[in-house]
Symmetry: C2
Subunit: 504 residues, 2 copies
């Protein structure tokens, strides 16, 4: 039988995916952490891994943490690297590796693919992904969307099969509102029943993180407001007690809501709100561009009003795992679980709009090039991650933009300080800005607003060295025209998405 390999996105090393039991190692880990409570975190993604680190570094040092993920080619490398002492998260936040090194020293964080780990756990935290599938027409309009729960249910079953009867299960995954009550609870009850165990002792709660991968990655979990709930009073109390030991709840008080539906809804509402704000900016970008208006100065002027402070700047679009799907998840739940016939049309429309943004961005670029009588032999893209300060390329708007560009142009090169391999496109990425801008480009397009680019003004110097003939197109409003070499001028050879230029 052929061995499955799992290649690390952090180091590029390929690991052989095991298929046996990991129980011996689990036992050993529990023994060496005697006196500590066992927490099992299901899912070692962008949330689960850092959540594990935060728990392993709790103030009272009372926890030993199992991090679980699947023995698949996509996921296993994280397990292998964590246990080999390599942090699988590449981040601009130094606390990530600090917390990782601490856990290593204390030997209280072990990663595994073996769900027997749940049998040891006093607390189980569900941090797995739950995806939304979208079907679109040729114009990018969303025709339908679905939340296939099969994988999620399986994951919950793997807990129910072995968990303690009085375990606390804390769901952190973003789920369709109603999921804890209508999906998780019955699965656990069924499993306990079939194991001949009482079904009234386990606790089930929901609390969502507000992780922002980036320079404040760890603090966005540890030092930030949290909302939580339980399926009953004891569950809510248990969640509260646990969260107080890992989160700085004195500075960031917890908020308890009445039902798990409430917190589940709060999470997707938060993200839908954000998605809608972005979608709003996108629509007005087009208007501003056509009307010769600088949308940045308009937004700045309006934001002076506290009631309008959340207004957003224009940009290349929205990416990442959450904002691109959560509004659909909400709408899906409103229909499937709660009979709201029309769903949440505006939220769905927001996702649709946002998904179209790279297309608008491409049109913006094409339109500029039409006005320049110039042969384009090389294009440079600055940034491929979906947002500033992070190495996450999942659903990055740059991906769609890149694909559109590459249908019309050869020789497109990309740079990103946080991404060395662009997994989705299997592309090698230059991480050195200096090396990258040493190449000369006909067009340089800023596609991610990494603040690093502005540190020490290096980008301005490097642009100054690199080419007088270059056109710069800033799709995220990063660059300051005043700091660019004097031969750059707005709407002549320097363009900003969301800033109109009168065509003549």
């Amino acid at each position: 039988m052929e061995q499955i390999k799992s290649t690390s996105l952090a180091t590029g090393v390929a690991y052989t995916v095991p298929d046996g039991s990991d129980e011996y190692a689990l036992q050993k880990f529990v023994q060496s952490n005697q006196g500590k409570k066992i927490v099992a975190v299901q899912g070692l993604g962008f949330v689960g891994t850092v959540m594990s680190l935060v728990i392993a570094n709790s103030d009272q040092d009372e926890y030993a943490v199992f991090g679980l993920d699947l023995a698949t080619s996509n996921s296993y490398w994280k397990i292998a690297e964590i246990n080999a002492g390599i942090c699988p998260i590449v981040s601009s936040d130094p606390l990530v590796s600090e917390f990782f090194e601490n856990a290593k020293l204390k030997n209280n964080f072990y990663a595994t693919y073996d769900s027997m780990a749940f049998s040891f756990a006093d607390v189980i935290i569900v941090d797995i992904n739950l995806d939304v599938t979208k079907v679109k027409d040729d114009h990018g309009n969303i025709e339908s969307y679905d939340v296939p729960l099969v994988g999620f249910k399986k994951a919950i079953e793997s807990i129910g099969q072995v968990c303690k009867e009085d375990v606390l299960i804390l769901v952190e995954t973003t789920v369709p509102p109603g999921t804890c009550q209508k999906v998780v609870y019955p699965i656990i009850v069924e499993s306990l029943k079939s194991r001949g165990l009482p079904t009234d002792k386990f606790k089930l709660g929901h609390s969502y993180e507000r992780v922002m991968p980036g320079p404040n990655y760890v603090n966005s979990i540890k030092n930030f407001y949290r909302v939580y709930s339980g399926i009953n009073e004891e569950s809510a109390d248990a969640v509260e007690k646990f969260l107080k030991t890992v989160i700085s709840t004195n500075e960031y008080p917890l908020t308890r809501l009445k039902t798990t539906e409430s917190t589940e809804m709060a999470k997707v509402l938060e993200n839908s709100y954000r998605a809608m704000n972005i979608s709003f900016a996108i629509e007005w970008s087009r208007f501003a561009e056509n009307a010769g208006v600088d949308l940045y100065e308009v937004v700045d002027a309006i934001r002076l009003r506290p009631t309008h402070a959340n207004l957003m700047y224009p940009g290349i679009g929205v990416g990442g795992y959450c904002l691109t799907k959560d509004p659909l998840m909400a709408s899906w739940a409103s229909q499937e679980f709660f009979g709201l016939e029309s769903g949440l049309q505006s939220s769905v429309k927001a996702v649709e709009n946002n998904d179209k943004m790279p297309m608008f961005c491409f049109d913006f670029v094409s339109n500029i090039l039409k006005h320049h009588d110039k042969e384009i032999t090389s294009i440079g893209l600055l940034g491929v991650a979906y947002g500033p300060g992070i190495g996450d390329t999942r659903f990055s708007p740059v991906e769609d933009f890149y694909k559109r560009l590459s249908m019309h142009f050869d020789n497109i090169k990309c740079q990103d300080p946080y991404v060395s391999l662009w997994a989705e496109l299997n592309l090698e990425i230059e991480t050195s800005l200096e090396a990258f801008l040493g190449l000369s480009f006909d067009i340089l397009i800023v596609t991610t607003g990494h603040r690093d680019y502005l540190n020490n003004d290096s980008i301005y110097e490097l642009i100054g060295r690199s080419g007088k003939e270059m056109i710069i197109i800033d799709t995220v409003g990063l660059l300051d025209l005043q700091k660019l070499p004097a031969y750059f001028s707005l709407n002549k050879n320097f363009y900003v998405l969301g800033v109109g230029h009168n065509e003549d």
Copy 2:
């Protein structure tokens, strides 16, 4: 010929609309204000009247103000009452009458219907209304919308026909972005040309107010951030100089934008943003109600995030003159003036959603009544104004709600501390809360969130006195269940729009 009458919305007095010239009075006013600059404010609506008062009360006392409106049955009463020393604005802000009384003492505010007043003016401020027409289908979906500019153009022509060649014209009306350049400018140039005057001396600018009628009515003009622009540098300078004399620009610095399109866009963008936020809350209200979730506690929990502070509470809907039309105005301009084919779909959708809100609210009420085996012989509505603390009923969501109710129920009575005559429905309104709650109702529905209702807890006492059998439905989240008599309980005989109740 029959005389036209104009009936005051403030006092109920009917005035005969004049049709002659008012020039003698204009002359006299100018003479008695020698040494002062003359400002003419076109339009004595909710903005123009208070703007006039603010200018007449400028710190350096340098202005005499003409307030202009039309000699029509709708508008003339304001002119008559101002000149008779009666403030035509009913407001919870004591500064309104204070400013009015001051101007009376100084004799520097005169109202007129005679556009010859513009011939004396150094500064002309355009504060007239510009409406949007909507066509809807049977389900309340917006089929089309238009911005008929005929009346607006006429008003600008009336300025061009007599204005000084070096006048400063400051447009404050909310207009489709592009209007100053594409409509106002050419009209004034044409008029001056035809009068044989130079066309390069007048100044034209745009600056929008952010009036919030209510307890801070005057300060929302005088003490608040302002955005301004001019069609050229001198115009922008002139606007700046003028605004600095009437607005507290030290505490609330002015923001100059590059073009009149920019400020025109800023205004409609602001209001579209607000409309969208409301529309968002509306959609999630339905979801929360169906899912048994209390949307108020969810919103409170989320608002702790500064990035989500603008999230809004659910409610009966949006009313007033601006939010119900500005997004359409913006979309219209994007298509008509700047060739954006699709317009601003999300903004249009927001208006459509918001307009449907009273319908949802009616459904909410009907649904509750279905679960109560109770004959409904009397209904009380608390509040008919479109928002808290104001007497403005224009486009109040309560209007549509009332109409729907009245198709199914007789004997609906209304109360509002700020409205004695509901002009749109020609209904007498009880202004005394005490008298109103002395009547007994089967259902009491809170329809406007006037804070006055909560002063001294009077509403809770009065409800306590009025009826044990009453059902209370709060459509704006005003009442506090804890303060209501103990026999009220949530989702039994006290219901809140946006707070779900599990139907059993």
